[in-house]
């Protein structure tokens, strides 16, 4: 089957890409100028101390050996130890990953349906005031920095109105309700960050389908507007819409970094930024790769959805 072959090819490409990205991230942190040992110990370190630390970190090995040691560790679930506090990275990441996914999940649950509905409304009332308002809002929101949205929310809803906490602290012992209350503001901010983009793309995807000749054919058969959308537009719009959703989830996962810092939310983004500041290379490599993996996977799902829903590939000649 041609379609299975294409999907297999796409998955293989995704895996290949992941490897290439791991090389890139490793090379980006190891080959670029800058000495990890020197940056840990600071300017005043003695040559002896530097040498000891280098040996301990395995920095005297050639880069290619260090890469494969690192990669081997990754594949067996060993992400190494942090330079700054000598903690096992995998154990520190796990709760943070769960927190980040929790936040991203609820932001997606709100933003995806909202964006699809608004996008469809914009098509339904094309060039009307709803459409204009939506595209104006989209223009504004692609221009707003995340921290503007974040701090405006905190300023009004946390400080002035006192409805939500201004810091989204979460911990293991918290109840689900408290947790939801804690993430209410960051989830809203994330939603606002991706909403406009997703809406605009949904609108374009549906509009593209609605302007096809087969929609005119359906209209000339005397079908109602509802039947035209349900029977003729919808089956052809699924692929582009799934594509839009996946791309925006990828976007959302990245948006999480800044949002977490704004709301002091203990997730992956916060963890990454902290360790970039501390120049803790092993942590940065591991977290960077995880972000890239999520991003690559979501993009891959988008492509596979497009392959699966293409009738030309599903029913070859």
């Amino acid at each position: 089957m041609q379609i299975l072959k294409l999907i297999a090819q796409r998955i293989a490409l995704g895996i290949l890409l992941l490897f290439a990205v791991s090389v890139l991230i490793f090379a980006g942190t190891e080959i670029l100028p800058g000495d990890v040992a020197a940056s840990i110990l600071g300017q005043s370190a003695t040559p002896q101390a530097l040498e000891n630390l280098r040996r301990e970190l395995g920095l005297n090995e050639p880069a290619i050996v260090r890469y494969f040691t690192w990669l081997g560790g990754l594949l067996t679930g060993d992400l190494g130890t942090a330079l700054s506090n000598r903690m096992d990275i995998a154990t520190s990441i796990w709760p943070r990953l769960k927190n980040t996914l929790f936040l991203a999940f609820w932001a997606a649950v709100v933003s995806v349906p909202l964006a699809l509905i608004l996008g469809m409304l914009a098509v339904r009332y094309r060039n009307g005031w709803i459409d204009k308002a939506i595209s104006g809002f989209a223009l504004a929101s692609t221009s707003l920095p995340e921290f503007f949205i974040g701090y405006v929310l905190i300023f009004f809803f946390a400080v002035k109105l006192n409805w939500f906490p201004s810091f989204s602290t979460v911990h293991e012992a918290m109840s689900f309700g408290d947790r939801m209350k804690a993430i209410a503001l960051p989830a809203t901010a994330l939603t606002l960050v991706v909403l406009a983009h997703m809406m605009r793309m949904t609108r374009a995807a549906i509009l593209n389908v609605m302007q096809s000749a087969y929609i005119e054919t359906a209209e000339l058969k005397g079908l109602s507007q509802f039947d035209i959308i349900r029977r003729h537009a919808f089956p052809n719009a699924i692929a582009p819409i799934v594509n839009v959703v996946m791309l925006n989830l990828a976007f959302l996962v990245v948006g999480v970094v800044v949002i977490e810092v704004i709301f002091v939310y203990p997730g992956m983004g916060q963890y990454l930024v902290d360790h970039v500041t501390k120049r803790d290379v092993p942590v940065v490599q591991a977290v960077g790769l995880i972000f890239a993996a999520v991003y690559i996977t979501l993009n891959m799902i988008a492509d596979i959805a497009a392959i699966v829903s293409n009738p030309r590939l599903r029913h070859p000649r």
Binding site: I25, G28, L139, F148, I262, V273, V276, T277, V284
Partner: protein
């Protein structure tokens, strides 16, 4: 190229604010009431006649820092955009016209770079590089040039298969004529509008990095860094951090309005005058 009468209201608003920000950036030392690092009053003083926007977390005049901040922000963003644009456009055009192994190699490499989110990649690289203005410009410019490459390659590839380009090739014209005389004039309007978008992106990217503490380092001021400096005030109800954040938004929206107008105006023409 542009007729004054065809400028829309939103484009006028965009042009006005863009010009205002540019003015501040260029003439910062002459119009700022105080020095950028000069401590002139108490911490987080409210807006007053003496300090039009109040003072910041160290008691410096916020308005003066905003004006100097405009300079840093616009300068770095513009330099990064210039780098990303010239690099991306030249490589993209060449790949589309030359084709063959150069195109394949470049395009696969760009695919690889784009499979890592820009912010994440920026953070990874900045974890080992020193935070200087030059590094920032280079990192931002190089990472963003991938997007310019994609766009220019796609636009140029579309034009490259048109019959008028084939006619030029049959005439015996060289690659330089084909790129600069046949393709470039037809690729200009999407590229000009993209230039605006790339600049906005550079402003937002720089601000995000500075906000995270990895961009412009104190005592230099850029708007993202000023948000970071003043963010602690928010929980006490002091809106000082919202001012630079709002300025970033205003700059981005203004440029967006102008870019939007350029795109609408030129894409409605099939060619010819305009």
């Amino acid at each position: 190229m542009f007729d004054i009468k065809t400028i829309t209201v939103s484009a006028w608003i965009g042009l006005f604010f863009t010009a205002l920000f540019l003015f501040c950036a260029i003439f910062a030392p002459w119009i700022a009431p105080y020095g950028k690092a000069e401590i002139v009053g108490g911490v987080w003083e409210p807006m007053s006649e003496q300090f039009l926007l109040g003072t910041d977390n160290l008691g410096r005049d916020l308005l003066s820092r905003m004006i100097y901040g405009a300079r840093t922000t616009v300068l770095i963003a513009a330099a990064a955009t210039a780098l990303s644009f010239s690099l991306g456009a030249i490589l993209g055009f060449t790949a589309a016209v030359v084709g063959g192994w150069f195109d394949t190699l470049m395009s696969r490499f760009i695919d690889l770079l784009m499979s890592i989110p820009t912010l994440i990649f920026g953070l990874v690289v900045l974890s080992v590089l020193p935070s200087t203005i030059i590094t920032l410009i280079l990192v931002m410019g190089l990472l963003d040039s991938t997007r310019v490459y994609r766009l220019s390659r796609a636009v140029a590839a579309d034009i490259n298969v048109m019959d008028f380009v084939e006619a030029a090739k049959l005439r015996g014209e060289g690659n330089a004529w084909i790129i600069f005389r046949e393709i470039l004039p037809n690729a200009l309007s999407p590229l000009v509008s993209e230039l605006g978008l790339r600049f906005i992106y550079a402003v937002l990217f720089l601000s995000a990095l500075s906000f995270l503490g990895l961009g412009v380092q104190p005592p230099e001021a850029d708007w993202g860094g000023m948000v970071k400096e003043n963010k602690e005030g928010i929980v006490f109800g002091i809106p000082a951090a919202l001012i630079p954040a709002g300025a970033i938004a205003a700059l981005a929206i203004s440029v967006n309005l102008v870019a939007d107008w350029v795109l609408n105006r030129t894409s409605s023409l099939k060619g010819g005058r305009g």
